[in-house]
Symmetry: C2
Subunit: 345 residues, 2 copies
């Protein structure tokens, strides 16, 4: 009989609440013969305050012994900015070589959007997850003095760029519209930009059916609000991907709905699935958190592990639920329950 060994990191704020709903839906949708073994990890602000630890080596090793990770949210105002982000979330992405940070954006019918005219939005961003300005390569000199100099180095390698660009071409090639857009800023960041553009063009020659496009990141943000229907698959660097996927979430119903997968396509390490939103400490414990982004992240998890039918079922359940939302406020738990009923019927 089959099994899924799932590591669960609820994390901070609303993380616990939304992860609970994700797990409910996951258990409900899995075939009877699949054994779901979960192990919860106490990582995040509480742990840091108690022990000073963000992600001890022993825990990192133990996390490796899983088929996938489900993460709620990391971050709390009581912890200095950067400590948990770099020491836990980014540490996981880098240690497990999550070079494909997959972030689909779809505007479901009936879902509110700040855009007039409700454009047809259905694209996926393939954000590089292990390089760029996220490597932590930087420093400061004469810190805190009027003579301070602080640097941040964006590191980009042909190795790192080619593998994620290739993944994006594969995804574009498998979609009906077969269109791939590279987003960068190669008129200013000429070294990294030219590396990206050259590899994008070279790998593109192997995918003659894929239509390609290039946009500077500033121009891309314009099209996200004026013409989002032009996008199918987007590939971009770590920082640009961070920025544009929040904007993408905003125009497709908000970050309460935005799912993501931190994927290691080689299978060398477990992939990690998490909502794009943060820990939202202001609404933690109030039952106001929308667990939909986590549930959609569970769908990505299912697809990654080969449970395509179950993934589709979760996505249909969410689409149906969104279609019947009428503005009446439901609690985190109520939304989770409604989705459980839908996936089991």
């Amino acid at each position: 009989s089959r099994s899924i060994r799932l590591a669960v990191i609820p994390g901070d704020g609303i993380g616990q609440e939304v992860v609970a709903q994700g797990l409910k839906v996951l258990s409900a949708v899995l075939p009877q013969d699949v054994k779901l073994e979960t192990r919860e990890y106490d990582l995040g602000a509480r742990r840091w305050h108690a022990t000073g630890e963000t992600l001890p080596d022993a825990e990192l090793e133990s996390l490796k012994e899983h088929d996938a990770l489900l993460l709620g949210a990391i971050g709390d105002p009581s912890v200095p900015s950067g400590v948990l982000e770099r020491g836990l979330l980014l540490k996981l992405r880098f240690a497990f070589d999550h070079y494909v940070n997959l972030r689909p954006s779809k505007l479901f019918p009936n879902t509110p959007t700040p855009l007039a005219g409700r454009p047809d939005i259905d694209f996926v961003v393939v954000r590089e997850g292990t390089e760029g300005p996220y490597t932590g390569n930087g420093g400061s000199l004469r810190t805190g003095t009027p003579a301070e100099v602080a640097t941040e180095v964006s590191l980009n390698t042909a190795y790192g760029v080619e593998r994620v660009v290739r993944d994006a071409y594969e995804r574009a090639n498998a979609r009906p519209r077969k269109k791939l857009t590279l987003v960068h800023k190669n008129n200013v960041l000429i070294y990294a930009g030219h590396l990206w553009k050259n590899i994008f063009d070279r790998v593109g020659a192997e995918y003659p059916d894929v239509t390609t496009d290039y946009l500077h990141v500033d121009a891309a943000t314009i099209f996200f609000v004026t013409q989002p229907e032009r996008f199918d698959v987007i590939v971009t660097d770590n920082l640009f991907g961070d920025i544009i996927t929040d904007l993408a979430a905003a125009v497709t119903g908000g970050i309460g709905l935005a799912a993501s997968g931190n994927i290691n396509p080689t299978g060398a390490f477990p992939s990690m699935f998490e909502p794009v939103h943060g820990s939202a400490p202001d609404i933690a414990g109030t039952g106001k958190a929308d667990p939909t982004a986590t549930v959609l992240s569970v769908a990505l998890l299912l697809r990654h592990l080969g449970y395509e039918a179950q993934a589709a079922r979760v996505e249909t359940a969410v689409a149906d639920d969104l279609a019947t939302r009428n503005g009446a406020a439901r609690t985190t738990d109520e939304i989770g329950d409604a989705l459980v009923i839908r996936v089991t019927n």
Copy 2:
């Protein structure tokens, strides 16, 4: 009698056309006793193709001998990406120490916006203009091979950050709402981010009437489309400022309306005024370019040179013209003419 020595760089694509309208309006609005001396510089794609030059030293020296610069647009698909941007536009911003890149965003009544509900938008972005990832500090190793490594270094100094942050506080303090938001990404770019945040907090102590806020750049893009009315003055780094001001333009009528000033507040070098839009080679020569962004940049130029009443007059003319636009297409020239009539009446 007074005079303005203005250097004019029409540049590429629609640059020539929109600058012509800007100059028409400028001549029309200036008091009779002010002598306007313009000198045009042939810089951009044509020059580069003809001579290989982007901005020769002699021309840079000669540009210095002016009270201000008016620039149309730089860039052409026939020139490799980065050559004119780095060799001309950014060279000017850096050589003339334009550390305040001022970009106001206002949604005028009747102006189209992609946002439903037409929120109240009236903010100004103070984008740092001489540091960050724009310094050209980077390189590539084993270029073009599978072992290539490319870097981009973001350079940030207390000197550079403090002066622009101080300028932003001054601007916020002079506005009715007195609110200043710092946009950065200090949970990931911890060295540069902490430098910015520490200086932002320290200088803030000198401005007790200014309310402050901090947003990560990804979250800021969300608020630009869901709650833009929350912004009054924003201060941010060179790259984040580039990205969010294009988005800001998109939600306030498009880049056809977005003005900017590259300002050296000390007066050591002439400041440069330019529309935020690019050279739009696809519509160059068709008369379809909207010169409004250039005309609004002329208003910023007038204000910078102390002609406040004339600046206000140009802005009122644009606001009135926008209020009566009824979707009927007018040529570049017709819009310029209409604005000339308004500023002279």
